[in-house]
Amino acid sequence: MLAYLIRRIMIMIPTLIAISIISFTIIQLPPGDFLTTYVAQLTASGETVDQAELESLRTRFGLDQPMYIQYLKWAWNFIHGDFGHSFEWNKPVSELIGERLGLTVVISVSTLLFTWAVSIPIGIYSAVRQYSWLDYILTVLGFIGLATPNFLLALVLLWVSYAYFGLSIGGLFSPHFADAPWSLAKVVDLLEHVWIPVIIVGLAHTAKFIRIIRGNLLDELRKPYVVTARAKGLSETRLILKYPVRVAINPLVSTIGWTLPELISGIAITAVVLNLPTTGPLLLCALMSQDMQLAGTFIMFLSCLTVVGTLISDILLAWVDPRIRFGAREGL
């Protein structure tokens, strides 16, 4: 297990380096470096530009040096927790992103748990009672859920709740908790609000998972071992839950690596519509105003989240499934 773990972590390093190169490229993409943007902003607002400060910034970020040195410098600072400076907010980036990243993690993990909690029982029901009227309704609902982009669903829900119930479902906190320090009451308040984005983002994935579980379980149910178990007199519930279901839900765990980036993507855009204090709106804002240090850091961190998530899911999978643990020894 330890050998597998070490091998798995070693694989992560080149991926992380590649991610950091792409993030750095995105920071560099807009024409001119960010100091030009900064100077343009200052002159636009009528402030004078302090030449000495400009010089110190220029050397701090190594803007007078070739690109690869700039990258190395950026990466070095990044590892040491200096993510650069947001010129729009005039604050270090690290101060801006902490809580927002945390909330993104909270929402994505709860969305993942929600999709599992909903899709597993429904998938099992749909497969066991194939072609019953409830199965048909669930299938149609599932297809609609798959086809509706989650930000549009958010928009429609916002409108329905606003127009018919007079509620505003945006945000993650009640107004009086928004700027309050963390406390138990604030956590409870968060729990009261978090289910709306969770449902919106989770719906498409729930629909997808239901299809996967239903298909897999239908294949499994036709296999001889199920017939054998039934012939031996095992009760139907126990029979289904103990063997075929375990095989059928395997893809849910093994695809966490792909599901996580999609969930984070979905949260980013839903958050803009619902105005959640997560990374999405601030990222969009940073991109609009070309505050690239902030935007690049966000993109870097969101991708790292996915890499770490994949790592956790692989460890889980290896822990659950001994074939992977030992297969790794023979060269993956």
């Binding site: 991610i19 294949d219 991708s303």
Partner: protein, 370 residues
């Protein structure tokens, strides 16, 4: 007689080409057939949208700002059934509430006509014409989906938006197909270090949450670019991420196929690598490519819609469904003018149809793979 008939049927089945067999299997799939019909309808709409739309997409009706969906009357004032007609609408300023409302002028009557004379347009940018499939004569107005903040007909704009959104899907998928087949082909056929590098690249790209990455790339576009250039840049950005799925599929198929005996035979005869790939290997998984492409198009369309909705995708005057939905971005606008949300249905229908067709095709091409 009966046995003879049966053997005739069997003979027909045995002699059928693969393509015909696939079509027979596909035809049994009801949802897939519905999807196919609706996609054909959508592309037809996209091709002839200038003629099918009652107005041009940028025609401004100053006295119909935020006009709601036109009421179509089926009964005249004596309650007799008659040909559907609309009443003339005027903008009324309510100075007490600082609100402009659209009211109907009683007594007016504009029947809905076919091949009505309306806004002149250049059909496919070439031929000047002014007939529209249906509409009402001026000064009557027919807004099936209401009007937006400049009094433009939302329904007509949806038809034009369908054209742009579908074309983005097509061009984007073609580009990712090119990238995916080339890189996936190299990686699967030659293996070795090129396979290693390409696989790492694919894994890295897949680690990125796609929307933040797309946002980053499209925000880097200089704001002074003309709309058409932005359009092409967006398709390139979308396909930069989209090719990975296709490449994986092509690689997997090639890996299993290159061990087959017919490839070995071709090699012994002295066929070049290119000939083996394009002449022998590609046809044997062409159907899988078509399936993957069909399933990739809705993703492209949704991604473009999302980017344009956020305001970092396409820009007016190019009108896609996402650009239309940008008008409906904040709740208060939507609460007052809910018909601005109607383009959502076009998006849903397009995406659903492509998914149905893709699912049906997959089952028809390869009945054993689930």
């Amino acid at each position: 007689m009966k046995a003879d008939h049966a053997s005739q049927k069997q003979l027909k089945y045995l002699n059928a080409s693969t393509r015909r067999l696939i079509w027979w299997r596909y035809r049994k799939h009801t949802l897939a057939m519905i999807g196919l019909v609706s996609i054909c309808g959508m592309y037809f709409t996209a091709l002839f949208c200038e003629f099918l739309a009652p107005y041009n997409k940028d025609t401004i009706h100053l006295d119909a700002i935020y006009s709601p969906i036109s009421k179509i009357y089926l009964f005249d004032k004596d309650n007799n059934l008659c040909w559907p007609f609309v009443k003339e609408c005027r903008l009324k300023l309510d100075l007490e509430h600082y609100k402009a409302t659209v009211i109907e002028v009683p007594g007016t009557r504009f029947p809905i006509k076919f091949f009505v004379k309306g806004d002149p347009y250049h059909f496919w940018g070439e031929w000047l014409w002014d007939r529209h499939l249906f509409g009402v004569e001026k000064p009557g107005t027919l807004f099936l989906f209401g009007a937006d903040r400049m009094g433009r007909d939302v329904f007509s704009r949806c038809l034009y938006g369908t054209r742009i959104s579908l074309s983005i899907g097509m061009i984007g998928v073609l580009m990712s197909l090119l990238l995916g087949v080339t890189l996936g082909g190299v990686s699967g056929y030659f293996g070795g270090w090129s396979d290693g590098i390409i696989q790492r690249v694919i894994e890295t790209i897949r680690c990125f949450p796609s929307i933040p990455l797309w946002m980053g790339l499209s925000a880097a576009m200089p704001p002074h670019w003309p709309a058409l250039k932005v359009y092409f840049a967006i398709t390139i950005i979308l396909s930069l991420v989209g090719w990975t799925d296709l490449a994986r599929m092509v690689r997997g198929k090639l890996m299993s196929l290159r061990e087959e005996e017919f490839v070995l035979a071709a090699k012994f005869i002295g066929a070049s690598d290119a000939r083996i790939i394009f002449k022998h290997l590609l046809p044997s998984f062409m159907s899988h490519i078509i399936v993957s492409v069909t399933l990739a198009i809705p993703g492209m369309i949704l991604a473009e819609t999302a980017l344009s909705f956020l305001g970092i995708g396409l820009r007016p005057p190019i009108t896609s469904l996402g650009v239309l939905l940008k008008e409906a971005q904040n709740v208060t606008t939507v609460a007052l003018y809910p018909w601005l949300l109607l383009p959502v249905f076009f998006v849903i229908i397009i995406v659903l149809s492509f998914n149905f067709v893709g699912d049906g095709l997959r089952d028809a091409v390869d009945p054993y793979s689930r």
